[in-house]
């Protein structure tokens, strides 16, 4: 007999565990979900089985090797829910000083209204659990409407398996008077792999500002494979900030799929600070109507042995759209950052203005950054630019600061804050801006203590 693969019967590969999870949930979902959704789930599973967990041979995953993160085994469902004292502590940890906001709390991917603070829904908006709305035909029809799952194996397996998340809808012309902070609390006694699915629909002329953050309240591993689909309809404006501040045993693969209709505006702030050991953001913005405006701001600080990978796509399909992307990264000692920004300008998308900039600062020589701007332009009357830089501290500037009595640590801190300023200054909400600036300072102080 030739070689035989000996399988450890106790630990399935992550791929097999995910497929098994599909089989378990599928049988439960039959009868509860419309045929259209079940069909989408099956098709998505097929796409995932076909692609598998991506390796570095996959162009979209060239720089991020998932192998070290796949060795552990995970439970695919929470073994129980944390007590209210744990949730309360998590909320305190997620609190942004001085931020006057509504609050939505999700625990292990499920909405907990008792800890949320929301106004009356008569006001013109609503938030429901996805588990409650996924039974409708409309939900099934809208799912993955702009997301080609065959290209995104993690979004595919999320589609196949998801059971819950939040569904948020703002009615025509409704303006949310305060920002909404969404706090994702995770806690379990076992290693947990969760696949939340969230939907945000901002209808015609509506305006809302959302801040998402998460808190892990256990010392077990957490792997989140999340998908959020957002539709910003005609003339609506959606401001969307994502604070990714975590613990070393957190792994995140987040897919955000945005569809913008005519005259709409979408602003995204993705702020990734230590300590999650893997963060992969897929941010795709599909410009499905003319005269839209899109702003994507990113800031990432990556520490030793950790990976932060930002992949984005801005898909210009119609004329007169403007998109502006600015991502800045600080690679701390031994960290690894990836930026892959694609701008696609289709043939009909004349008069496009598309700008992209990615700047990186290596805190020590012992860091890695892979920066890959990708522009594909098929229209001939457009203004597009991109730039990518990798640099170290400007020694002359450091000396200048020190020659005025400013200590080396403070000088580094000033310069990183200044480097990040191009992004942080774009955060309109003052409380959020102060919060992120403090987090940056704290991160630098910690990084300096290590060196």
């Amino acid at each position: 007999m030739s070689q035989q693969v000996v399988e450890n019967s106790n630990s399935l590969s992550l791929k097999d565990s995910l497929i098994k999870e599909f089989e378990l949930t599928y049988s439960k979902n039959q009868g509860n979900e419309p045929e259209a959704l079940l069909q989408k789930r099956e098709a998505a599973l097929g796409a995932f089985q076909c692609a598998g967990i991506p390796t570095i041979k996959n162009e979209e995953w060239r720089f991020t090797n998932l192998v070290p993160f796949l060795k552990d085994s995970y439970q695919m469902q929470p073994s129980g829910m944390p007590g209210s004292d744990v949730i309360e502590k998590a909320i305190v940890r997620a609190t942004v000083k001085g931020l006057d906001a509504y609050r939505l709390v999700l625990v292990n991917g499920q909405i907990d209204f008792s800890f949320s603070q929301l106004p009356d829904y008569q006001e013109g908006w609503l938030i429901r659990p996805v588990s409650e709305v996924k039974g409708t035909e409309a939900f099934a029809a809208a799912l993955n409407s702009t997301l080609p799952i065959e290209k995104y194996p993690f979004a595919a397996i999320n589609t196949a398996c998801f059971s819950d998340g939040f569904y948020m809808e703002l009615n025509n012309d409704f303006q949310l008077d305060k920002p909404l902070q969404i706090i994702h609390v995770y806690s379990d006694q076992e290693n947990l792999f969760l696949q939340p699915r969230n939907i945000i629909k901002v209808r015609r002329g509506a305006l809302a500002e959302v801040l998402e953050s998460s808190v892990l309240m256990s010392d077990k591993l957490l792997f989140v494979n999340g998908v959020t689909e957002i539709q910003v309809q005609e003339n609506a404006h959606f401001k969307h900030a994502h604070f990714q501040v975590g613990e070393a045993q957190e792994r995140w693969i987040m897919h955000t799929q945005v569809e913008q209709l005519r005259d709409s505006r979408y602003d995204n702030y993705t702020l990734t600070l230590p300590h999650a050991d893997l963060v992969r953001n897929n941010l795709n913005v599909i410009l499905d109507g003319p005269s839209t405006e899109t702003h994507l701001y990113g800031l990432y600080m990556v520490e030793n042995k950790h990976v932060v990978d930002n992949h984005s796509l801005v898909d210009h399909r119609h004329p007169n759209c403007m998109s502006n992307q600015l991502y800045k990264g600080v690679i701390l000692d031994g960290g690894k950052g990836v930026f892959n920004g694609k701008i696609y300008v289709h043939r009909p998308a004349q008069k496009t203005n598309a700008f992209q900039q990615n700047n990186n600062l290596l805190f020590t020589p012992n860091g890695t950054i892979n920066s890959k701007p990708q522009l594909e332009i098929y229209a001939d009357d457009v203004k597009c630019s991109h730039g990518s830089t990798v640099g170290q501290f400007d020694e002359e500037a450091l000396f200048y600061l020190r020659s005025r009595g400013i200590g080396a640590d403070t000088a580094h801190s000033l310069m990183i804050t200044a480097f990040a300023f191009d992004v942080t200054s774009k955060i309109e909400n003052e409380a959020l801006r102060n919060h992120i600036e403090q987090l940056i300072e704290k991160t630098i102080a910690q990084a300096q203590a290590v060196i």
Binding site: A397, R402, G405, T410, D422
Partner: protein, 249 residues
């Protein structure tokens, strides 16, 4: 106040300073002149602690303290100030925050509490007036987009704020038009006192018409080859540096 003895320094194994001796007392203004490449700016850099300079011999003390042993920030905290020939632009660091951080780090070094916001602003206003610095520039990013003259005036503002014992002005007059030169010089003259001292590094006698020195030294080939009173500057202006070069062949 400052005592330089037999100072030798090199950059990338190239000997730049070759035995400098200089004594600067409180209340004095010294001018250091000399042709291009004689080591004037290198001397300023070595004193301020620029990293790529290596001191191979000699001592520098300020009020008895070994300066060469200190990090650049500690030299500044001990009262040394270098006005840069080319002040650095640092986008994203506001001028005002920079001044406040510097002032408070120096205060904390001397065991003093940081200035509160009100007193700090008062001080800034007062010093701005003293050196005729445009208030609008204070809130901008440090030196970013400043004209040459504005940058040099900003150096003098910092000088006024930090109140060092010893200030070295490295070719502060270069690139200044006559009005800016007058403003910068007025600032320095107002800041002169019996307790502090200045070293002016310059090519030209012009600056010394505005800031009158007590001593003039000629630096050539890494050494001080001639010292005298303010008349020496006039002689140099008239005769150029060639005779110095001849004498020291």
């Amino acid at each position: 106040m400052l005592s330089i003895k037999n100072l030798y320094a090199s950059v990338e194994d190239k000997q730049i300073l070759k035995g400098i001796n200089l004594e600067v007392g409180a209340g004095e203004v010294h001018a250091i002149m000399g042709p291009n490449g004689s080591g004037k700016s290198s001397l300023a850099s070595v004193l301020a602690g620029r990293e790529n300079y290596e001191v191979t011999e000699g001592t520098v003390t300020m009020d008895g303290k070994d300066l060469l042993d200190l990090a650049p920030e500690d030299r500044a905290r001990e009262g040394l100030f270098l006005a840069f020939q080319y002040p650095v632009e640092i986008p994203g660091v506001s001028n005002i925050n920079f001044l406040k951080t510097a002032l408070n780090e120096i205060r904390s070094y001397h065991g003093k509490a940081p200035l509160d916001a009100k007193r700090f602003l008062q001080l800034t206003k007062e010093k701005q007036k003293l050196v005729e610095f445009d208030a609008k520039l204070v809130n901008r990013s440090l030196n970013e987009g400043f004209s040459g003259g504005e940058k040099k005036r900003n150096e003098i503002l910092q000088l006024a704020m930090l109140e060092p014992k010893l200030a070295i002005l490295d070719e502060t007059d270069s690139g200044l038009d006559i009005d800016a030169l007058r403003i910068v010089s007025n600032g320095v003259n107002k800041l002169r006192s019996k307790d502090n001292a200045f070293i002016l590094i310059t090519h030209y006698q012009r600056l010394l018409e505005y800031i009158v020195p007590d001593f003039v030294h000629v630096l050539y080939n890494g050494r001080i080859v001639k010292s005298g009173g303010k008349d020496l500057a006039l002689e140099l202006e008239e005769k150029g540096y060639d005779w110095i070069k001849e004498e020291n062949k």
